[in-house]
């Protein structure tokens, strides 16, 4: 039996984990951080939801959400401009005081009117700092079959300290029932780690929020996942496909660079499960006389007249004659001047780097250049 996914409400937290990537999220939400040449982080989960048959998605955001609003628009690119359901942005609600949320549960409390009104039976909620492509109906079916109250989508493996510093990890019994939850473990090691995607019956979520928030308990991770392992049947659902999790500038850089391997790219952007994004109507990219491009991901609208290696070029990037770009992530409309050499840098949107300069950073620790900077 396959579950009718239009009965599942999607909730995406656009701002959570902003603090792990301050460079890129100082002017935008985590969800609207550019990724992979033409995408934003939110595109991946949002597309997975749509490709799995969901048609109602609320995006919870608390601050710096201009870029997010500009990106998702009416939701049309994801087929979410609907007369029923579709895409709804849920910014802080006027009556909440300072316009900031004290935690995920507080944010859900603010969106309660919307959540209650949707005719959905289940909720899939996720953060935007994970990138994967999955048929979420499998997760919902597993959730229903297992009788779980909350299902946590997890991965298992050996993780470094920087990876666990912003992670929820679980100890579970053989059947997948969570026995204990550790938030941000301080040591590297072998863990079952949350992918920050959770499935729960809508009514249960509503009851939990209504019960906990008035008592000042607003933290989903601490006050539910950690505190309620006895009271609730919390279970893991092991995801075994390809994924990336962003926990800082280094992992952001690494996750981008992994897409240069076609086998990884094909696991995230499948023919049968495309990743939708805002379109810009750029012309195709132009490769000039004597340009040389190898091992790179290039979006439309670029004009390349120099050398580009092991790099990711977003839309409308210009690389002038004699310029050399190595190991870089150049975001939308970056311009690299004549005979300039750059290596291991990340340029935000509209950065202009002049002629005959040399900017480089050590391999593995990329240098970030902020939006609209002119060098």
């Amino acid at each position: 039996m396959s579950y009718n996914m239009t009965n599942v409400l999607g909730i995406l937290f656009a701002n959570s984990h902003d603090e792990t990537l301050p460079e890129l999220s100082s002017n935008r939400t985590m969800g609207s951080v550019p990724f992979g040449g033409r995408f934003r982080l939110i595109d991946f989960l949002l597309s997975s939801m749509v490709n799995s048959g969901m048609s109602t998605v609320g995006v919870i955001t608390k601050s710096n959400y201009q870029s997010l609003l500009d990106h998702v628009g009416s939701g049309r690119q994801w087929d979410l401009a609907r007369s029923d359901g579709g895409l709804t942005i849920l910014p802080p609600y006027g009556s909440t005081g300072n316009g900031q949320y004290n935690g995920k549960l507080d944010a859900l409390m603010n969106a309660m009117g919307y959540i209650v009104k949707t005719p959905c039976e289940y909720v899939i909620m996720s953060d935007c700092n994970v990138i994967y492509s999955a048929d979420l109906s499998k997760q919902v079916e597993a959730h229903i079959a297992s009788g779980a109250d909350i299902t946590c989508v997890t991965v298992t493996g050996d993780y470094t300290q920087s990876e666990t510093a912003d992670a929820i990890t679980f100890e579970a019994d053989d059947s997948g029932r969570v026995l204990s939850t550790v938030i941000n473990p301080t040591r590297s090691g072998h863990y079952t780690m949350s992918l920050n995607t959770y499935i729960v019956k809508k009514q249960l979520l509503v009851d939990l929020v209504n019960d906990l928030v008035p008592r000042g308990k607003c933290n989903f991770d601490r006050d539910i996942l950690q505190a309620m392992t006895q009271k609730l049947n919390i279970r893991t659902y092991e995801y075994t496909g390809y994924y990336s999790k962003i926990s800082g500038l280094d992992s952001y850089y690494k996750a981008n660079m992994e897409l240069l391997k076609s086998e990884n790219l094909e696991k995230i952007i499948l023919k049968k499960r495309p990743v939708y994004t805002k379109v810009r109507d750029d012309a195709p990219s132009k490769y000039g006389l004597n340009s040389s491009v190898t091992n790179s991901l290039v979006a439309d609208g670029c004009v390349i007249e120099g050398v580009v290696e092991n790099s990711i070029l977003f839309r409308g990037v210009k690389v002038s004659k004699g310029a050399v770009v190595r190991g870089c992530i150049l975001m939308q409309d970056t311009e690299i001047g004549r005979a300039t050499e750059v290596s291991n840098i990340i340029t935000d949107k509209n950065v202009k780097i002049g002629d005959e300069l040399c900017i480089s950073s050590a391999e593995g620790s990329p240098l970030y250049i902020a939006k609209k900077r002119v060098l």
């Binding site: 495309p274 109507d281 195709p284 490769y287 340009s291 091992n295």
Partner: protein
């Protein structure tokens, strides 16, 4: 509902484009891919939107499936409007019988009721087989200033070329004094670009009269324009300067694509003030592999390039495997060139596969006689088997 529009565009998109042979076997000419991510019809449609014309009738007849699917509700061109927008107009059955479109004038005649719904003062007639950027609102201003019944956009062509076009003679005010379709000995070099603006009452009058004349061929160039000239209507030529190319033949389609790679050609697709819109698909950015060598080319989303690409236009979703060579060629969406295959001076159609070691086309240098050489064409959804050879000028529309 208030529906009035000052100007409505009618885009003739029903032509078979028989001189494109295999490339229009299953698709109408306006839906033929061009320039990596476009189809020919993107140019007139984008021109309409950029010129402020938001009501466009697209007249289809020949193989409309791809075209209908591509245009959809017109959203890609911002033509999904509450009033107006883009409308596909196929031939239809009426109480007096069913009739195919017989000629350009008849196609418009059969849709007079569509035009009437918008009660326009002016109608622009466009065709779906030209690549150009043009502000129709400038032409409309000229039409109004001249108080014309009909204005025809003209391009100054080389004298040797002139006999391929409808040729206009004009007086010093720009008024058209004579019009000859494809003259053997042209009196002027002002060629019709197939773009007409009519004051609607005049258009309607001559279309109805032409229908009543059973001997007429029901064509704008052959009937309507000569009839209006004979009746001494105010007809003016509007000079256009800039890039314009008829892509009705294999050679001209190939040239028009190659023009995009030439720094001296004025067609600028990167101008944010005059975007050419297209129905974008969701694909990954292009991945240029470690062993790839790419130069002098245009490439778009969804491509995976591991071979050598030079002077070529590569459309969305194309795969070029290691050791393959693609030079001076056009690969249409979804084409695949496998390991070690060579594609030179060729057009490879949508979703076609060139298997390992196959060789398509050849460079002109190796041919002494020009007449033996030409661009090779592999149609859509065709597989060229391992090691097979397609000679220059050959047009292949089935697997070999």
């Amino acid at each position: 509902m208030y529906n009035k529009k000052e100007c409505v565009a009618m885009l003739l998109a029903g032509g078979q484009g028989s001189r494109l042979y295999a490339l229009t076997k299953n698709v109408a000419k306006p839906a033929v891919p061009y320039g990596g991510k476009y189809r020919i019809i993107d140019f007139p449609l984008s021109n309409c939107v950029n010129s402020g014309i938001d009501t466009v009738g697209v007249l289809t007849q020949y193989q409309p499936l791809v075209l209908n699917d591509y245009i959809g509700n017109g959203q890609a061109w911002n033509l999904d409007r509450i009033h107006g927008g883009v409308h596909i107009l196929p031939p239809y059955q009426s109480s007096s019988g069913a009739q195919w479109y017989e000629g350009t004038a008849n196609a418009i005649y059969q849709n007079l009721s569509f035009i009437d719904r918008y009660d326009p003062e002016y109608v622009v007639i466009l065709s779906g087989d030209h690549i150009y950027k043009m502000d129709y609102s400038d032409m409309l201003s000229y039409h109004k200033k001249k108080n014309a019944a009909c204005t025809i956009a003209v391009l100054n062509v080389e004298y040797e070329e002139a006999s391929r076009f409808g040729i206009m003679s004009t007086d010093e005010t720009g008024a058209i004094t004579k019009f000859v379709e494809k003259p053997k000995e042209p009196e002027s070099t002002l060629a019709s670009m197939g773009i007409y603006i009519f004051s609607y009452p005049a258009l309607k009058k001559y279309l109805i009269e032409n229908e009543e004349d059973t001997s007429a061929t029901k064509d704008f160039g052959k009937n309507i324009i000569p009839a209006m000239l004979a009746a001494k209507e105010r007809m003016y030529a509007y000079s256009f300067e800039g890039y314009w190319k008829d892509v009705g033949t294999i050679d001209s389609l190939w040239e028009a694509n190659m023009d995009l790679l030439s720094p001296s050609v004025t067609l600028d697709l990167y101008d944010p003030a005059w975007k050419i819109y297209s129905n974008n698909d969701s694909r990954a950015p292009q991945l240029i592999g470690s062993d790839a060598k790419v130069q002098n080319s245009m490439i778009t989303t969804g491509c995976v390039i591991d071979g050598f690409v030079d002077f070529s236009v590569i459309s969305g979703g194309v795969t070029i495997e290691e050791g393959a060579v693609v030079a001076d060629s056009i690969l249409m969406p979804g084409a695949t060139v496998r390991k070690g295959a060579v594609v030179e001076y060729s057009i490879v159609g949508e979703n076609s596969v060139i298997e390992a070691g196959a060789h398509i086309g050849a460079r002109p240098e190796s041919y002494e006689s020009k007449s033996d050489w030409g661009v090779a064409v592999v149609g859509h959804d065709v597989t060229i088997g391992q090691g097979a050879v397609v000679a220059p000028k050959q047009i292949i529309d089935h697997d070999i």
